[in-house]
């Protein structure tokens, strides 16, 4: 199903060409974010991604968070404990 959603995401991302993708954690957002990022590298679209990590994550990131941390434009966390380990992240109360 991941493969299927990946293919579907290519279709959606290229058709919609979102300026902004907001996502908050479940693994389902990984294909979309990766494709939006890929399109930007290829110069085919200009989408930005803001990822909000789960409020339950205090000391370490979720798997999705870890995967997407390098490629998103804004990475939002809710606990200051994460800022040291992930300096690119931003705290929102």
């Amino acid at each position: 199903t991941t493969i299927r959603s990946f293919i579907r995401s290519i279709y959606v991302a290229t058709r919609v060409r979102p300026d902004l993708v907001l996502c908050n954690g479940p693994g389902t957002c990984v294909p979309i974010v990766m494709i939006v990022f890929l399109l930007r590298i290829l110069g085919m679209a200009d989408g930005n991604v803001v990822f909000v990590e789960s409020f339950c994550r205090v000391h370490n990131l979720s798997l999705t968070g870890k995967l997407l941390y390098p490629i998103v434009d804004k990475f939002v966390v809710h606990w200051p404990e994460l800022l040291q380990q992930y300096p690119r992240s931003q705290l929102v109360s």
Binding site: L20, L22, N48, V50, V52, S54, F55, C56, R57, V58, H59, D73, K74, V76, W79, E81, Q90, V92, S93
Partner: protein, 235 residues
């Protein structure tokens, strides 16, 4: 039928009440513990809070509180769609001098949580957040993001508290991560096993616990500003 929300403080002569919630989950060891005679006789003691009323929301559990033949040998009950909304599950009784009632689910637990002096919750993020919001309102804290309104009666020395019980049987290590982080900041009291609640020492500690209101977020204003800022929009 007795239920917490219909019994105002005056109804029990100013008596205090406990509300136990497991949300949509199943937490049989907690439910067995809080419905046991041992627990009920402890909580009615003055040094443990002098509670006179307890309501238990037991979700998908196999254990039904406050019934005399409480066996789970028949295995897990099938939860049909009807039962999901069956709030007439109230089986109210008087046990060890404490008014006890229970139900599986209600459309919203807010009223019961508002009426209680002590909320004992599983460590689910949603239940924790709702509990914190209501405690903050009741204890006179400022709510920035939530929609609870502060009650006027903050002169009461006995404040509203939240106890969170983590479930070791679940593999969710990050459940206790949230509870522990909030406890470290003084916003709630963590119990790591339901059996701890049977100990008088634990109950005394809870009674003495001076909870710091969790003033929550700002309803998203910070986040909105962050996104706007990223695109170069001025606030």
């Amino acid at each position: 039928m007795l239920s917490l929300s219909s019994s105002k403080r005056g109804h029990h002569g100013g008596g205090r009440s406990i509300f136990v919630t497991v949300g949509t989950t199943k937490f049989d060891s907690l439910i067995s513990t809080v419905s046991s005679s041992q627990f009920l006789s402890q909580i009615s003691k003055p040094e443990c809070g002098a509670y006179v009323c307890i309501a238990v929301q037991y979700g998908r559990g196999a254990v039904t509180p406050f019934v005399s033949d409480n066996t789970s040998t028949s295995g897990v009950e099938q939860i049909s769609d009807d039962q999901q909304h069956d709030s007439s599950d109230d089986n109210a009784r008087l046990v060890e001098g404490v008014s006890c009632s229970s139900y599986r689910f209600k459309p919203t637990l807010r009223q019961d949580m508002e009426a209680a002096d002590l909320i004992i919750s599983h460590a689910g993020a949603g239940s924790i957040m709702e509990g914190l919001e209501l405690c903050c309102a009741a204890n006179g804290g400022r709510i920035k993001g939530g929609d609870a309104t502060a009650s006027g009666d903050v002169s009461q020395k006995r404040r509203k508290k939240l106890v969170v019980v983590t479930n070791a049987a679940l593999m969710n290590a990050h459940q206790s991560e949230l509870a522990d982080a909030l406890e470290a900041r003084g916003h709630l009291f963590v119990v790591n096993d339901p059996s701890e609640l049977l100990k008088e020492e634990t109950l005394r500690q809870i009674e003495k616990f001076d909870q710091i209101p969790f003033e929550g977020g700002d309803g998203g204003a910070d986040f909105a500003a962050l996104v706007d800022n990223h695109f170069g929009f001025e606030p």
